[in-house]
């Protein structure tokens, strides 16, 4: 298996605060990788560093063999990110938002649009302006905008936040359909989601990696029956999380 993402001693500090603390990760190509952690654990900051949105304080990160600090220009066309906050152009329609995104990544494939629209079931709102969509539909669009550029690696920061049960299931099936083809780094607070989707899970607390493995391995490691109990045991092991 080829390595898609490797971090060694990846660290981010904001003044006296250490948001990510010497993180060592190796994520394989085609893997669906879950990042778990309580609020403020450093998940978003990790994604921001890996996508060049935040400078790395210390340590190294490489994506598809390219150094994030040096080769960002080469990396950017290969990745995409669905940020924790919904990010769409308000006065553009769903279709226009998608084609805008495709064009800035230099994607000319016309079928990509239809594919993404149908996989996230955006047909019925395709010609509606983004600002007239409900929060959950905007969220779907925001995710679709990350999928349309056909990235090798996709970062989904709490993608299912604000989605109804049906929409969440749809997104799960989209993520599953990408399994093996696209490397996906996914953060979420829903443990059933990681269990349903992720090949491996990293649990972070206070910026540090606390556990790493499949759902079954994490449960065994913590000696618990459910992932939720295992998660709680892991993050509470060394004092209460911030």
């Amino acid at each position: 298996m080829k390595t898609a993402i490797r971090t060694t001693g990846l660290t981010k500090t904001f003044g006296p605060k250490t948001a990510v603390d010497h993180l060592d990760l190796e994520i394989c190509e085609g893997e669906i990788f879950g990042l778990l952690g309580v609020n403020g654990a450093g998940k978003t900051t990790t994604i921001r560093m890996l996508t060049g949105l935040s400078a790395i304080t210390e340590g190294e990160a490489s994506i598809l063999g390219l150094d994030v600090s040096k080769d960002l220009k080469k990396i950017k066309p290969l990745i995409n990110v669905s940020t924790q906050e919904t990010a769409v152009a308000e006065n553009l329609t769903v279709r226009e938002n998608l084609s805008f995104m495709a064009r800035i990544y230099g994607i000319t494939d016309k079928e990509a649009m239809d594919r993404v629209i149908s996989s996230l079931e955006l047909e019925e709102v395709a010609s509606q302006k983004a600002k007239t969509l409900s929060g959950g539909w905007q969220r779907r669009l925001s995710i679709a905008m990350a999928l349309i550029t056909d990235p090798k690696i996709i970062f989904l920061d709490e993608p299912t936040l604000g989605l109804d049960v049906l929409a969440r299931r749809e997104l799960w099936s989209v993520v599953r359909s990408l399994k093996g083809k696209v490397t996906i780094i996914l953060t979420t607070h829903y443990l059933e989601e990681v269990e349903a989707l992720c090949d491996r899970i990293a649990v972070m607390a206070k910026g540090k990696l606390r556990a790493l493995g499949t759902a079954a391995e994490l449960k065994a490691q913590a000696g618990k029956d459910t992932l939720e109990d295992a998660f709680v045991a892991i993050v509470e092991k060394e004092g209460t999380a911030s």
Binding site: F14, T51, G52, L53, S54, A55, K73, K76, P77, I79, N80, V81, T83, Q84, E85, T86, A87, V88, A89, E90, N91, L92, E96, F100, M101, R103, I104, Y105, G106, K129, M145
Partner: protein, 255 residues
């Protein structure tokens, strides 16, 4: 041509917002009409102010209209910066030059359209009020000649939008709009207001913009050169500053 996609998005965001028509087109035309009516009611005595005469008024209003362009660029940049939308674009292959071009181009086109519409409205008014046409050739030449002024105001807008948040930026722009009206001599004759006031006005670009726009309308292209050159110098400085500011902010946002 990634920046064109971004420029088109900005153009759509502007043109699909009804408020931009009210300010960028409606207000200048209303001002033109109102001031012409006021001028009609002033008895035509010796030494009455010239600035309300349509051939003096319309170039000044054309410049004034650009201040709203500034406001809308500023709102666009500052509100993009306040949402995750720009974050997502920062992660995309767009570079800082793509951002600048993408912000500037749609507003330049809108600015040129503003001039054409303002001058067309002035021509109609001139025919109604004075019964004679404005110098059409001079008006046509004015359109490209006013380009540096458009870029100047867009530059100020980008500068403010870059440094101030979506709450503070529009307020600051309003201050500049008022300042431009007073210091530019849009509705008063700065030449008649004493040399010290004129010196103050000369320190800002607005006075020079209005002056050269009026001279262009009058066809006095020789006299126009100096204020035109001064305006271009201001434009160059402000525009370069806005590019540097945006690129700097883009980097520092990545802290």
């Amino acid at each position: 041509m990634k920046w064109i996609a971004f420029a088109q998005r900005n153009q759509k965001e502007l043109l699909r917002d009804p408020i931009s028509y009210v300010f960028c087109l409606g207000l200048p035309i209303v001002m033109l009409i109102v001031m012409t009516i006021i001028n009609q009611s002033i008895p035509a005595v010796e030494g009455a102010p010239q600035v309300f005469r349509i051939e003096q008024l319309s170039p000044a209003i054309a410049i004034f209209a650009m201040t709203f362009l500034m406001l809308f660029v500023c709102i666009r940049v500052s509100s993009d910066r306040s949402t995750a939308f720009l974050t997502r674009l920062y992660a995309s292959p767009l570079q800082s030059s793509d951002f600048i071009l993408g912000y500037v181009l749609p507003f330049v086109l809108t600015g040129l359209a503003q001039i054409v519409i303002t001058y067309a409205a002035s021509e109609v008014l001139a025919l109604i009020v004075n019964g004679e046409s404005l110098p059409i050739g001079n008006m046509l030449l004015s359109v490209p000649l006013l380009l540096p002024s458009i870029v100047l105001f867009i530059g100020i807008g980008i500068l403010f939008g870059t440094f101030f948040n979506a709450k503070a930026a529009p307020g600051l722009c309003s201050a500049v709009i008022t300042g431009a009206a007073i210091l530019g001599g849009i509705y008063m004759d700065i030449e008649a207001m004493g040399s010290s006031w004129k010196t103050v006005c000369s320190c800002f670009p607005f006075y020079h913009c209005v002056r050269y726009a009026r001279l262009a309308m009058a066809g006095e292209f020789g006299d126009m050169l100096l204020p035109f050159a001064i305006c271009c110098a201001f434009t160059a400085v402000i525009f370069i500053a806005s590019i540097l500011a945006f690129s700097f902010k883009m980097k520092s946002d990545k802290k």
